[in-house]
Symmetry: C2
Subunit: 200 residues, 2 copies
C-alpha cells in the first residue's frame, strides 16, 4: 500500500466517525439548554484525562487512556447510544457493538484498526488501570454536567440512587478521590429531590 | 491547598470550558446538515493527531500535541470565533484572546493553568514541531469536511484560492504529505466551482 492509499483509508475513517457529532446522549450541557453528543462528550473526557490523571488509583499511560476515551463511543455509529439506565437495550448492546467495531475499525489501515479495536475491547473489559480510569471519566463527566444543569436529566428519567451506584460499582477501583466526590454530589441531589433515594 | 480544593478548581475549569460546545464554526459537518462547534472540532483534531502523526515532517510528542489541540480554541469562550477569512476580526483577535487566556487558564491550579496557557502560546507562536503539526490538523480538518460537504462553506463565503493558500502558507512545514493532498482537494474544488481561482 503506498502512502496516498494509506492516507485515503485513514481519511475514510476520519470522515466516517464525523457521525458521532450527531449521536445525542441523555445528558444536558452544563447550561441545561440541550443534550450533548458523543463527540463533545469524548472531547471533554480527553481533556479531563489530561487534567485529572493524578487522581487515578494506579499509574496510567495517557498514550492509551486518551485514544481510548476519544474512540470509546464510536461503535454507537452503528449500534446507537444505550442510555446508562436502559435495561432492555443493555441486553443486545454487546452483539450490536461488536459488529459495529468490526466495520468501523476495519476502515483503517490494518495495524491502526486492530490497535484501536483492541483499545475499545480493553475499555469494555474494564480490567486494566487505563480502562478503569477511562470509566471513571466516562461516569463522572455526565454526573458533573447533571450537577451543573440542576439534575435535569436525572429528573427527566426519574433516576434512582441504586441505579447510579450499580453503574458506578467499580468507579472507586479507578479513583477513590473522584468517587468520594461523586458520592457527595449524589447525596446533594438526593437532598434536592433530583435523584430518588430507593435505598432507605 | 488540600486535594479537594484542588479538585474543585479543576472542575470549575472543566465546567467553564463546557461553553465551547456552543461556539459554532463556519465549517459544516461532513453530512452538510449543520455547522460544527469547537468541542467537536477539537475532538476530531485529537483523534487525527493520533492517527496521522506519521505524516508530520518532524518527530512530534503527542503528549504535547493532544493537549494543545484539545484546548487551542478555549480562548474563544471570551473572544469568540474569528472566521479564517475575516480580516477585520483578525486585527483585534490577539488582544482579545490573550485576555481570555488569562481568565480561563487562571481557573486551574497554578501549575496546570500555566502549562496549558504556555501550550496555547506555543500553538499561536507556530514555531515548534508540535505547534506546526497542530496547525496542519487545524487547517486540514475543515478542508476535509468542506470536501465531504461539497464545498458548502466555501461557496457560502465565496472563498478564494489565495485566501486558502495564505492561511496555509506554513502547512507544508508541518506536513508535506498532508499539504500535497490538501492542494489536490483545493484544485478539485476550484474545478467544481466551489473555490474561486483568483490566481489565474
Ligand atoms: Ca456510551
Amino acid at each position: 500500500m503506498d502512502e496516498k492509499e494509506r492516507l485515503k483509508k485513514q481519511l475514510d475513517f476520519i470522515l466516517e466517525v464525523d457521525k458521532v457529532k450527531n449521536i445525542f446522549r441523555q445528558t444536558y450541557l452544563a447550561d441545561g439548554n440541550r443534550k450533548e453528543n458523543d463527540a463533545e462528550h469524548s472531547w471533554h473526557l480527553a481533556l479531563m484525562a489530561v487534567l485529572l490523571k493524578e487522581y487515578s488509583n494506579e499509574e496510567v499511560n495517557l498514550g492509551k487512556v486518551i485514544p481510548m476515551v476519544l474512540t470509546h463511543d464510536l461503535v454507537e455509529i452503528d449500534a446507537g447510544d444505550t442510555y446508562a439506565y436502559d435495561e432492555k437495550g443493555a441486553q443486545t448492546k454487546d452483539a450490536r457493538e461488536r459488529k459495529a467495531a468490526d466495520r468501523i475499525y476495519g476502515l483503517l489501515p490494518e495495524e491502526q484498526g486492530t490497535w484501536l479495536k483492541e483499545l475499545w475491547e480493553e475499555f469494555e473489559a474494564y480490567e486494566t488501570p487505563e480502562a478503569k480510569f477511562a470509566h471513571v471519566l466516562d461516569n463522572c463527566q455526565p454526573l458533573f454536567l447533571n450537577d451543573a444543569s440542576n439534575g435535569k436529566s436525572w429528573e427527566e428519567h426519574q433516576v434512582k440512587k441504586s441505579q447510579i451506584y450499580k453503574r458506578n460499582r467499580k468507579t472507586g477501583e479507578g479513583s477513590e478521590a473522584i468517587w468520594e466526590y461523586m458520592k457527595e454530589l449524589i447525596d446533594k441531589h438526593i437532598a434536592m429531590g433530583h435523584v430518588i433515594d430507593d435505598e432507605k
